[in-house]
């Protein structure tokens, strides 16, 4: 497996291909490096985090290569932060379920958001693991080639617990 690009985003810092980016938070990263995708503001926190990571990683990759790429992401908490927010909207004395929120109670939506933005028609998969088990993740990524032939794979860990605890550790890899 060959790594083409990698990024790490935490509340403290963002490192892209070894270079530290001084911008503080996810919204700041959006303003500085994206800015032209209003759908970003509709996304939940997990999607925003994964989306920003993918934007920085995929800069300079052409449409042809992206079409048959795969997106394979992992985390521990699934969509738990949005699940909690949705749960608050369906209590007996406060019942107003909203489809705009409910759709984000699926962790794989982040893979869909990235696919839509980049016109990636390849595989999109989301796995929930007990911890950031690099061996297991690498195993799953390598095994992808046993039944498919993506041009490259956008993969890694993307987990959002709360505003002070989140992490995206994403990379682009080829066989």
């Amino acid at each position: 497996m060959k790594t083409i690009a990698e990024i790490s985003i935490t509340p403290n810092r963002t490192i892209l291909n070894g270079d530290t980016i001084s911008t503080a938070n996810i919204a700041g990263l959006y303003r500085e490096f994206v800015g032209d995708y209003p759908k970003f503001f509709k996304m939940d926190s997990l999607c925003k985090l994964g989306f920003i990571g993918s934007e920085l990683l995929l800069k300079g990759i052409n449409a042809e290569e992206k079409e048959n790429a795969a997106i394979i992401l992992f985390n521990r908490n699934g969509s738990l932060i949005t699940d909690r927010n949705y749960q608050k909207t369906i209590t007996d004395d406060n019942y107003f379920p909203s489809p705009a929120l409910f759709v984000y109670t699926l962790a794989n939506i982040v893979t869909g958001e990235i696919a839509i933005r980049n016109k990636i028609y390849g595989e999109s998969s989301f796995y929930v693991l007990n911890n950031q088990d690099m061996d297991l993740m690498n195993d799953i990524i390598n095994n992808t080639y046993l039944t498919s032939s993506p041009t490259f794979i956008l993969t890694g860990w993307v987990d959002f617990d709360d505003e002070h605890n989140y992490e995206a550790k994403l990379k682009l890899v080829t066989k």
Partner: protein, 382 residues
């Protein structure tokens, strides 16, 4: 693929129609359903039509068959009961290091959030660990959470693990239980039908939700006889179009079918067991995808009229029922279908049809623009 063959060695379905695969197949064959209107269930202000498990019966069954059953949630009990039934059936030793557990679910224990927003049982990986550990299996289980396509993706994840040579056996469990959380969400989408759903029909108005658990056990190795089911092909594609609406061109689903047709001759396909949720958009999208793939003449069926949409279980139980159907020489009827309501006329019937062909394709589509398909073939043909 290294010449490794993947064979199905056991299966189980626990649903409102029965607690093993044969009971479920017989019920579906004779047109039964437990879909009905539920008023005041789950504390919902609006009634819904769905297919619900008998909770008391499942809990008694769990108390009788699961050690320390009280330690497990309803969702976990179902997963364990289903897997245990399949494991016993094929005499698998689940504690061996060459066995991996793979779990397909959309929301697992999400109903625990009703007790407390901090309830950690909602974390899918913890729940999966409990299930694998119950069987004495110490490998890290994998949870596939790809919305409605999870059941097929979990089989694909299992197949990849087996092809890689790391494991010899994969226990693939699919399960979801309904809750206020899930039903209110689908209601807010206005995706639910107030009556029994009508897949592909011109009068279809939406889907029904259902509960089930299913298990498929796969083995890396040649089939032991002509009756065994073998994995043939699989594919996953995104529509790259919309997070909650299917593609107007059936893009992802079409690409899935096109991939599978590289490995399977259209003439050997007995039927496509499609997603057929009975929402206007899903069924229309599938008709476009099947037409674009040149499969208009192949029989298509959908099983949501018997079970509703069982979310993470759907891909597992519908695969098992498709195998059972071919074992019995039939294409199951599409319950609820009367007359074509899609742009392209599919080869669908509300009657059971005979078949002598021995391969099928199972397809699914879901939120996040996701689409997946898998094909199996019966018999010793390599």
């Amino acid at each position: 693929m290294g010449g490794i063959m993947i064979t199905k060695i056991a299966d189980n379905i626990i649903s409102p129609l029965g607690y093993d695969s044969n009971a479920n197949f017989k019920a579906v064959l004779s047109g039964e359903t437990m879909l009905c209107k539920h008023v005041d269930s789950f504390g919902l202000p609006v009634p819904f039509c769905g297919s619900l498990l008998n909770r008391d019966e499942i809990i008694s069954l769990a108390n009788a068959e699961i050690a320390c059953a009280e330690n497990y949630t309803f969702f976990e009990k179902l997963c364990i009961l289903s897997a245990q039934n399949a494991i016993t059936d094929c005499n698998l030793s689940p504690r061996e290091s060459n066995v991996i557990f793979i779990i397909s679910t959309t929301k697992g224990n999400v109903d625990c959030l009703e007790n407390s927003l901090e309830d950690t049982r909602c974390i899918l990986a913890s729940s999966a660990n409990k299930i694998a550990r119950y069987f004495g299996n110490n490998n890290t289980p994998i949870v596939v959470s790809n919305a409605c396509i999870s059941g097929v993706c979990a089989q694909i994840a299992a197949i990849r693990e087996l092809l890689s040579g790391r494991y010899r056996y994969a226990v693939v469990i699919g399960c979801d239980v309904l809750s206020k959380f899930i039903i209110s969400g689908f209601q807010s989408f206005k995706a639910l039908s107030p009556e029994c759903c009508q897949p592909y029909d011109k009068n279809r108005v939406g889907l029904n939700l259902g509960e089930a658990a299913g298990t498929i056990i796969l083995k890396a190795g040649k089939p032991s006889n002509e009756e065994d089911w073998q994995y043939v092909s699989s594919s996953i594609h995104n529509d790259a179009n919309h997070i909650s609406g299917p593609s107007r061109t059936g893009e992802g689903s079409y690409r899935v079918l096109a991939d599978i047709l590289k490995d399977v001759d259209a003439n050997e396909i007995s039927f496509i067991n499609a997603h057929g949720t009975a929402t206007a958009y899903n069924d229309e999208m599938e008709s476009i995808a099947i037409h674009r793939a040149g499969l208009d003449d192949v029989c298509v069926n959908g099983l949501k009229g018997y079970y509703g949409h069982t979310l993470g279980a759907a891909g597992i139980i519908e695969t098992i029922l498709s195998m059972k159907a071919i074992d019995n020489g039939v294409v199951l009827a599409t319950r609820g279908f009367e007359s074509t309501g899609t742009s392209y006329t599919l080869n669908i019937s509300n009657q059971v049809r005979e078949t002598s062909k021995t391969a099928f394709i199972k397809i699914l589509s879901g939120f996040g623009g996701s689409n997946a398909g898998i094909s199996y073939r019966k018999g010793g043909k390599a």
